[in-house]
Amino acid sequence: MVEKTKPESKSDSTGLGKRIIAALPKEATLIFIFILFCIVLSILTPRFFTVQNLRNLVRQTATIGVVSLGMTYVIISGGIDLSVGSVLAFAGISGALLMVGGTPIVLAVIVALALGALLGLVNGIAIHEGRVPPFVATLGMMTAARGLTMLVSGARMVTGLPRPFVQFAQLTIVGLPALFFVWLVLIIGSILVTQYSRFGRNVFAIGSNREAARLSGINIRFNTYGVYMVSGFMAAVGGMMMTSRLANGVPTAGQMYELDAIAAAVVGGASLMGGEGTIIGTVVGAMIIATIRNGGNLLGVNPFVLQVLIGVLVVVAVMVDQMNKGRSE
């Protein structure tokens, strides 16, 4: 309170520690919180810091982690994509059906990913050409894609997937799950795209100020399409990862994933107002949420209590962010 009432001076009144924290990027603070979390959990339960548990944790987080990456692009552009969970299921089922039908694995995966991007493109068209608010357009897609999934699968699990595909999820490379490496590649790719590509710059510009971006010659149409296609593609990758892990095509897969993905991005510092957000932030956000779940399970905390905690975390993360912003302005 005392500090707040002081006039804004060039931080000479604040301590060194505070200055260092203020100078650190938001992501560093998040990583710090995450590490602290892990340390506390390791002390509380010996089962947390075991190879087996960490391997599981990473495997579980990878799918939602990939979906969150796509969500981050959308949120930075000032939009939202509620359809990712359904697109994930649709791509997962489509890929599974193709494989069961005898399509080579690689081809089936490519087609499934393309289908994900296609559904994303439909979102983009509805949003740009139809001027439908992203919330509504992707809400429609959420329902429609889930319906499509049920239609093509007859609402039944798709079984009998080729062995190599199923084994992929169990594969470890230098002790880490192969799924983790899929996530890692997409993380690195996304960092490069969001920070160093023209597309990334355009997405930030549109999210920050759409009109200024347009008047600076940025093509709003193609970039909107691009953002939702990336999100659809990432959801489809998630779908393939999940199908491999579950060893079956599951039509009800990915329910509520849209909310987890949004939560990961928001905890990671992305702003739903657009123009703000980082891939690293989202990755750490996803890991923090997954670790709370995992640690809670190990400690025997009631899963419903965990749900309450995660809900509170999302709101608190945004509150802290807003308070920091309010002070610096």
Partner: protein
Amino acid sequence: MQHLVQMKSISKSFPGVQALDQVDFDLKPGQVHGLVGENGAGKSTLIKILMGAYKADAGQILLDGEEVEIRNPIEAKRLKLGAVYQDITLASELSVGENFFLGKLPRSLSGLVKWAKVHGETQTFLDELGIQVSSRSLVRRLSPAQQEMVTIAKIVYEGSRVVVFDEPTALLANEETEQLFGIIRRLRDAGTGIVYISHRLEEIFEICDTVTVLKDGQRVVTCPVGEIDSDTLVNRMVGRNLEDMFVRQTYQTAEDQVLLEVSALTRQPVFENISFKVHRGEVFGLFGLVGSGRTEIVRSLFGAEKPDTGSVSVEGTAVRITTPAAGIRHGIGLVPENRKEAGLATGLAVDFNINLASYDNISRLGFINGPAERRRADKYVKELRIKTPTVRQTVNKLSGGNQQKVVISKWLCRQSKVFIFDEPTTGVDVGAKVEIYRLLDELLQRGAAIVFISSYLPEIMGIADRILVIREGRSMGLVERPQFSEERLLRLASGLEAEAQTANSTA
């Protein structure tokens, strides 16, 4: 006669500006009091103080001879002071009747709204005033002029004792203006006090009985309309010492190559048949009152809005104006009127904003050359003396003047040849203004051509080589620097003088 309103020695200052300096203003019952002055003279500030939107720094307000304190618009309403502003203040998704009864819808005992009563009363009232609008229509479906008339009717319906009209005719056609005058006369005869603000001096002479001229926050004169003619009035409005801050180092003398040519540009109903040429090294002024269409003209030639017909060429090459991207490729850059809404990605960094329009120039295979981005940003921060701790600072933390420089840098970085400045010095302090003028000189020396919009006469007269005057979307005349005079430009802009000598006369 007893005074209805007396405003005594009202002063009000904003950071860096004395908006009002001990201004007196009186209004009697049944008086129509005209308030005139240039943009920035203090008219709106005075009215906003009366309506409780601003608080005066000093002075007092008397109502019926008793001192009152009007702290907010709600109190103003309670004291029966009403105002019709330029912008529509109706709830657009509601019906006309609902707007009339907003916040006080009559309800029956069962709690249901008595719609018959709402619409019956509203309709009767509208009919009485001769306004042909149904009480049941949604406001959004009415034309802007109809909305304006409904707003006026609502204020009258509320039975205000004082009604302020702030540029009420900006959206109205002649017929509706006559109707408005009918309503004003009716109010006047019923003893209401009217304050009438307009740039259109002929209206002042038609409807007002008294007129007060404000200039630079001071009252110049108050007199009966019969004792003043329009020439004297214009003279009183503009007769100011020309500040020597509005000067460039050199003005263009010889005609250089034509950089920008606009011919017969039309976008109905906003503007029609606008043609002009801008030469290398020239500042071409576009002058007109607010709402004259000047902003829309430049937005169209840039590609921000599609014109119906007409053509634009840069250095003799025709531009297919469809999107801003096309205009930008041909070397046109727009420094828009509202820089925070349209000029800057405010939450992003200075280097990002400087490069915003030219990332295609410094990228390969879709990836950006980071060092080049940084180098360009550093270059313009240095050249334009942008005050920022680092190029990574977000632009919303910079001052208005520095933000404006970032927008200008964006086009320099893009190597634009034609710069359009739309009111570039609004919300910018005096020091930064001078710097922006100096920048114009630098741009010209680099071989640019500039289109400059301003509604502030001393500024545009000091900056421009030639000025095209726009009124209601039509060109009223092109004035060359030797013929510049405030009187002449104002007369053209307010329609007092017909088009005299001009190159583009078809209207």
